[in-house]
Structure formats: structure tokens, C-alpha cells
């Protein structure tokens, strides 16, 4: 029996690896596509961010008080051009804001300086209004440059004149320091998207070859040729399942390599806002300890076998590749949905979650990546996966022995 499985497995692998079309579609295309996609995305996003940073903000200033005019004269702004404009032109300026030709309008209250000097606690504070266009990136940036830069500094200047020292106005200073296991933080960064992608790559890799290897062989009549040999049907089924597992696994690894190759261009994917520096550092070498890799490998292999069994089940049942394609689509969507669901939710998930096939497996991978996996999670998920796998394999076996399924009889 083992020898038979091995013979079938060898032939199935030879079938895939000597077929240029299959090799390209299962191993080369996914890696290239993902590398290209992430690379291009990374370059575009980086360029966009740089472009926004370098943009010279165009601001029109209305009713600028003398104090402000003096202030900007003494403190020239490098990243913005300020133009003093007459108040009557406001409607026209709004039009320019709307079309994006102007980034912001800074409007001072009339008699700003007088109000500023005569200010008593009960009188109305002088006001400044910023007109900006929330639909334009440059305009949004202009607003924040004004609020967090120029106007803040200008205010500090005014306060210094008023009180002699602006630091009277702050009661205390705050600063922060990150205290976290950098591995965990980095893991959270990768952990949030990697399991989902890996899950999808695994399924896609198995699907690309699986439908053809089973439904295709049934359709073309090459399967029946094997069924008249003394080889047990189980051996054929297991040989095919194992070969599909190998193919799906290698295919997903090749896709991962493509992703890693694109990493230098796609830092946005690997970093996480909470851990900019740590995340980026760990992304370069995110496979850390042997135990870490072993856990990830084990979880991926279990998931691969689940997917391959699902794909095989559908392909055996279908009468031809087209039908198999139709049946597999909802399964694929379900797999994607369950994967996406794992990216939601905060905090430590409850233990029972790991008892849900597929969802639990992807979740477990996430936990393992962020060093939060416990033995209970692993044991429960592995147990449930094996039971689920055993059921799938039993059904596949039954189908391989059914004349209705194998010969449409």
C-alpha cells in the first residue's frame, strides 16, 4: 500500500513539475505577481508620501494683522508660500480652493491686533479661520502645517510678548517610551496580514493544480485507466492528496518569497504604526527562532492538508473541470472570508475559537507569529483539524470507491 502511494505520488509530482504551463501557473506567476504588485504599490505609495512632503503649500492670508506680517517676515516659512490678499477676494479664493489651485485660506478677524492687545478674560478672543478642502491631500496637509507649525509658533510668540515667558502656560511636560517585547511588536505587524495571505496562497496553489489533477483526469478518462490496475483506490486518492499538498505548500512558499523580495519596496506592508522602527527592523529577518519556524511550518502543513482535502473532495465529486470550478468558488470565498475575519477583533481570542476549522487555524498562525500561542490553542486546533481532515478523507475515499462518482454510473 505504501509503495503504491509512493508510486502514484511520484507520478503526480512528475506530472506537475515537468509541465511548463503548470510550473509557471503554480510557482512562478504567483511569486512574480505578488512581487510586482507589492513592489509597484510600495514605490507608488512612497512616491506619493514624498511628493506630499515636498509640496510647497500655497496659502492666501486675509486681513493679516501687523503682528503676523512682522512675524512671518522674521520667520520665513520654507514649506509654504503666504500671500497677503484683500478680504473682498474671499469668494474667488474659495473657488480656487475648490479646484485645488490654492491649498488654504487663512482669515484673521478684523482688528485682530487691537483685540489681542485689549484682551481681558471676559472679552471675546480674537479669531483665525482656516478654509481648506478636505478632498485635496495638499489642502489637508496645508491645514495641519498651519495648525501644528506656523500658528502654534506665532501664538507662542504672542504669548511671550504678553507674559514674558510662554512656558508659564504649560503645567507639565509629557514624553513617552515604548516598553514591549520587540519580537512581539514585530510579530503583531506581520501577524496581522501574513496568516490571511498565506491561507489564501495555500488554497489558490492547491486549487490551481487540484482541479485538473482529479476532475480533469476524470473528464479526460485517464483516471479510469488507473482504476483497472490492481492499485487500491485509496492509494490513488492518497497519492493525489499528498502530491497536491506538496504542490500547494511549495506554491505558497514561492509566493512568500515573492513577497519578501518586494519587502524593500513595500515597507508600508511590514511596518505597523505602533512599532515603526522595531517592525521594520524585524521585517528584514522576521523568522527568528527555530521553534518559531517549526510552529509556523506545522500550522501551515495542517492547514495545507485541510485545503487540499477540501479541493480534492470537490474535484472528485464534479464530473469535469468546469463543474469543479463552479463548486470550488463558494468554498474559496468562504476560505477568504474566514481569513479576513481573523484580522478583526482585539485582545486575546477565547480558546474555543481555535476549535473552528480554518478560522481557528488562521487565528492560530496569527497567535504563533505574535508569540501569543499557548499549548491549549495548539492542541485544540490540531485535534479539531485532524478530526475534520479524517472526515474529509473518509468521504473522498468513499467517493473514489463509488461507481456513480467515478463513472457517472
Amino acid at each position: 500500500m505504501n509503495r503504491e502511494i509512493l508510486t502514484v505520488l511520484r507520478k503526480e509530482l512528475a506530472r506537475v513539475f515537468t509541465d511548463r504551463r503548470l510550473v509557471i501557473s503554480a510557482f512562478i506567476m504567483p511569486a512574480l505577481t505578488i512581487a510586482l504588485l507589492y513592489g509597484v504599490m510600495g514605490v507608488m505609495i512612497t512616491r506619493m508620501v514624498e511628493d506630499r512632503q515636498e509640496h510647497q503649500t500655497e496659502i492666501a492670508v486675509i486681513d493679516a494683522p501687523a503682528s503676523f506680517a512682522t512675524y512671518i517676515e522674521h520667520h520665513p516659512q520654507e514649506d509654504m508660500t503666504l500671500q497677503l490678499v484683500d478680504a473682498s477676494r474671499l469668494p474667488e479664493l474659495k473657488g480656487l480652493l475648490f479646484t485645488g489651485e490654492l491649498d488654504a485660506v487663512l482669515a484673521f478677524d478684523k482688528g485682530f491686533d487691537t483685540q489681542l492687545i485689549n484682551y481681558k478674560s471676559e472679552t471675546k478672543q480674537p479669531g483665525i479661520k482656516i478654509y481648506y478642502n478636505a478632498a485635496e491631500d495638499y489642502s489637508v496637509d496645508a491645514r495641519s502645517r498651519l495648525m501644528n507649525g506656523l500658528l502654534e509658533d506665532y501664538e507662542a510668540g504672542v504669548l511671550t510678548t504678553r507674559f514674558g515667558d510662554a512656558s508659564y502656560l504649560t503645567a507639565f511636560e509629557t514624553s513617552d517610551e515604548v516598553v514591549a517585547d520587540p519580537k512581539k511588536v514585530a510579530g503583531k505587524g506581520i501577524g496581522s496580514f501574513l496568516p490571511l495571505l498565506l491561507s489564501i496562497f495555500l488554497f489558490a496553489g492547491g486549487m490551481g493544480v487540484g482541479l485538473d489533477a482529479i476532475a480533469g483526469e476524470k473528464e479526460r478518462g485517464t483516471m479510469a485507466t488507473m482504476l483497472v490496475t490492481p492499485v487500491r483506490r485509496e492509494a490513488i486518492a492518497f497519492g493525489k492528496l499528498l502530491s497536491l499538498g506538496v504542490v500547494a505548500f511549495l506554491s505558497s512558499i514561492s509566493t512568500m518569497i515573492g513577497m519578501v523580495a518586494s519587502a524593500p519596496f513595500a515597507t508600508f506592508l511590514f511596518s505597523n504604526p505602533e512599532a515603526e522602527s522595531e517592525g521594520a527592523a524585524a521585517a528584514a529577518g522576521f523568522m527568528i527562532s527555530p521553534g518559531y519556524i517549526a510552529a509556523l511550518l506545522f500550522i501551515s502543513i495542517v492547514l495545507t492538508m485541510l485545503y487540499v482535502a477540501l479541493i480534492s473532495l470537490v474535484s472528485v465529486y464534479a464530473r469535469n473541470v468546469k463543474e469543479a470550478g463552479t463548486y470550488i468558488t463558494p468554498v474559496y470565498m468562504l476560505v477568504m472570508l474566514l481569513g479576513v475575519l481573523t484580522t478583526f477583533g482585539t485582545g486575546q481570542p477565547a480558546l474555543w475559537v481555535f476549535g473552528i476549522p480554518i478560522y481557528g487555524n488562521v487565528m492560530l498562525m496569527k497567535m504563533s507569529l505574535s508569540y501569543e500561542m499557548t499549548w491549549q490553542m495548539l492542541a485544540l486546533n490540531t485535534g479539531v483539524s485532524l478530526v475534520f481532515l479524517a472526515i474529509l478523507v473518509a468521504v473522498i475515499r468513499k467517493m473514489f470507491n463509488s461507481e456513480r462518482v467515478m463513472f457517472n454510473a
Binding site: T7, T18, T222, A224, T225, V228, P230, E403, F407, A409
Partner: protein
């Protein structure tokens, strides 16, 4: 040796099949209680028009389908209970079984040889002689997809005979073959017979059957209507006509039409619309 004993095969039809075939019944009785025996050193022919139940019978003999009723023994092994033992000893050939066009003849025959648990040297020797017989030597390393139709068919036959089986089951052996290939095949069947193999073929072409087979079973609507040597079958056809003189029955084809007409008359009498 093949012993078929009261074989009945009933297909359950799906809703779609019922619609496609415009059948009202949920089941289709494809083979309705047939009994025959094919012996070593002879070629046994199953004759009948399309839909008579020949393929179904041969699939049951090859263990691909299990009988609904009755039993089949091949070399003394029961097809239902000892499928593996039966499959070790048979070659089943039909147009519906295909080889993967991606591989070469050499790879394919080695693969099938190993499925029969043959030793590598044994496979090489046997493959060389089969390839020689069927004229495939020059194409051993050509992808099967790139072979001509005739070459593909010859290769299918060679591959299915790799394990030198005692029993050869051939569904419509010359169907779709060009005359030269067909001749190669029938000649080879004759040589297998000379080696003492048990051979069973099905066909709807009477001239082929008459030349090739030693004994026949004529099947109509899943039942055997006549069985025996050519002489037996011709006699049986004659005895069923009113005029006892079988002048008009010169060959198998005439005999076959007699059976066919008689069946139609019977069906009309019993109100069955076919």
C-alpha cells in the same frame, strides 16, 4: 476463464439523466440476467447493437462496476469480493480509457508496470517486445499528445498488456481504428489466443466478430438471445423463423437481423415502445 452467472446491472438514474433520456423510470436495467462462459484459448464475442448492454457487462467483468445481481468469476476470483486479484490478471481496453498526453510512452509504460508491481527489468523486457509488436519503438520518447491517433491507440493497448495478463477484455476493439491499426490489433488478439489467453471482445460489427471470434453471445436489450459457435447461432436464427429452411441466413449479420426483428415483434406484442 470468465464465468458470468445471472448478471443483472441496474443503473439508478439521476433527475438530469431522466430528463436527458426522456425516461419515466428511476432505474435503467442495462443488463438483465445474462450467463455465459469464456474459456482459455478462445475469443468470445459479445454481439449487440448500441445500448444492448455490452459495455456494462464488460465493465462488470473488469470490476469497475459491481453487479446488482448474480456473480462473475475471473480465473476463479469473484469480481465483487476479490477485485484486486481479478485486476492483476486482466487487461481491460476501451476507447473511454485514455493515457495522459503529457507523458512519453516510455514513462507511461514504466509507470503502469510499477502499478502492477513488476520489477524494473521485467518491465523493460516486456515493454521492448510490446513496442516492437505495435511499432512504437521509434516514438518512445515523443509526448503522447504528439502521436497520431492510431499510434495512441496502439500504445493504449501495449500499456494495458504490460503485465502479460491471462484475460484480455476488449470493448469494441476495432472501433475508430484505421484498417492497418485494426489489422495489427486483430492479429495480436489471434496470437494471444494461440498463447492460451482468455479473450472476450464486444462489437456491433458482425463481419469483425465472424472473423475473430470462436464463440458468440448475441445480446439484445440486456438479454442473451443466442449463444454458441457460429453454426449454433445461425441454426438458432433459422429455427426462429416460420420457414424452417434457413436459406436466407448466410452469415452472422443475417442471423442478427432475424433476432432483432423477432425481438421487435415481441416488444410490440407486449406493448413496449422501444
Amino acid at each position: 476463464m470468465i464465468e458470468v452467472n445471472g448478471l443483472v446491472k441496474i443503473y439508478k438514474l439521476t433527475k438530469r439523466q431522466m430528463r436527458q433520456r426522456k425516461e419515466k423510470d428511476k432505474v435503467k436495467i442495462a443488463v438483465d440476467g445474462i450467463t455465459f462462459e469464456a474459456r482459455p484459448g478462445e475469443i468470445f464475442g459479445l454481439l449487440g447493437p448500441n445500448g444492448a448492454g455490452k459495455t456494462t457487462t464488460l465493465r462488470c467483468v473488469s470490476t469497475l462496476l459491481s453487479p446488482s445481481e448474480g456473480d462473475i468469476r475471473v480465473c476463479g476470483f469473484d469480481t465483487a469480493a476479490q477485485g484486486v486479484e481479478v485486476r492483476k490478471r486482466i487487461a481491460f481496453l476501451t476507447n473511454e480509457l485514455k493515457l495522459d498526453g503529457h507523458f512519453t510512452p516510455r514513462y507511461t509504460i514504466r509507470y503502469f508496470g510499477s502499478l502492477y508491481n513488476m520489477a524494473p527489468e521485467e518491465i523493460e523486457a516486456r515493454a521492448a517486445s510490446l513496442f516492437k509488436t505495435f511499432g512504437i519503438e521509434g516514438f518512445q520518447d515523443t509526448k503522447i499528445d504528439d502521436l497520431s491517433t492510431g499510434m495512441k491507440q496502439k500504445l493504449s493497448i501495449a500499456v494495458s498488456l504490460i503485465h502479460d495478463p491471462e484475460v484480455v477484455i476488449f470493448d469494441e476493439p476495432t472501433n475508430g481504428l484505421d484498417i492497418i491499426t485494426a489489422r495489427t490489433v486483430t492479429d495480436y488478439l489471434m496470437s494471444l489466443k494461440a498463447e492460451g489467453k482468455t479473450i472476450i471482445v464486444s462489437t456491433h460489427i458482425m463481419s469483425v466478430a465472424e472473423k475473430l471470434c470462436d464463440r458468440f453471445a448475441v445480446i439484445l436489450g440486456g438479454r442473451i438471445v443466442a449463444q454458441g459457435t457460429l453454426e449454433d447461432v445461425l441454426k438458432a436464427a433459422g429455427s426462429q423463423t416460420q420457414d424452417q429452411v434457413p436459406d436466407t441466413i448466410l452469415d452472422l449479420e443475417d442471423a442478427f437481423f432475424r433476432f432483432y426483428q423477432r425481438q421487435e415483434l415481441e416488444d410490440q406484442a407486449s406493448g413496449v415502445i422501444s
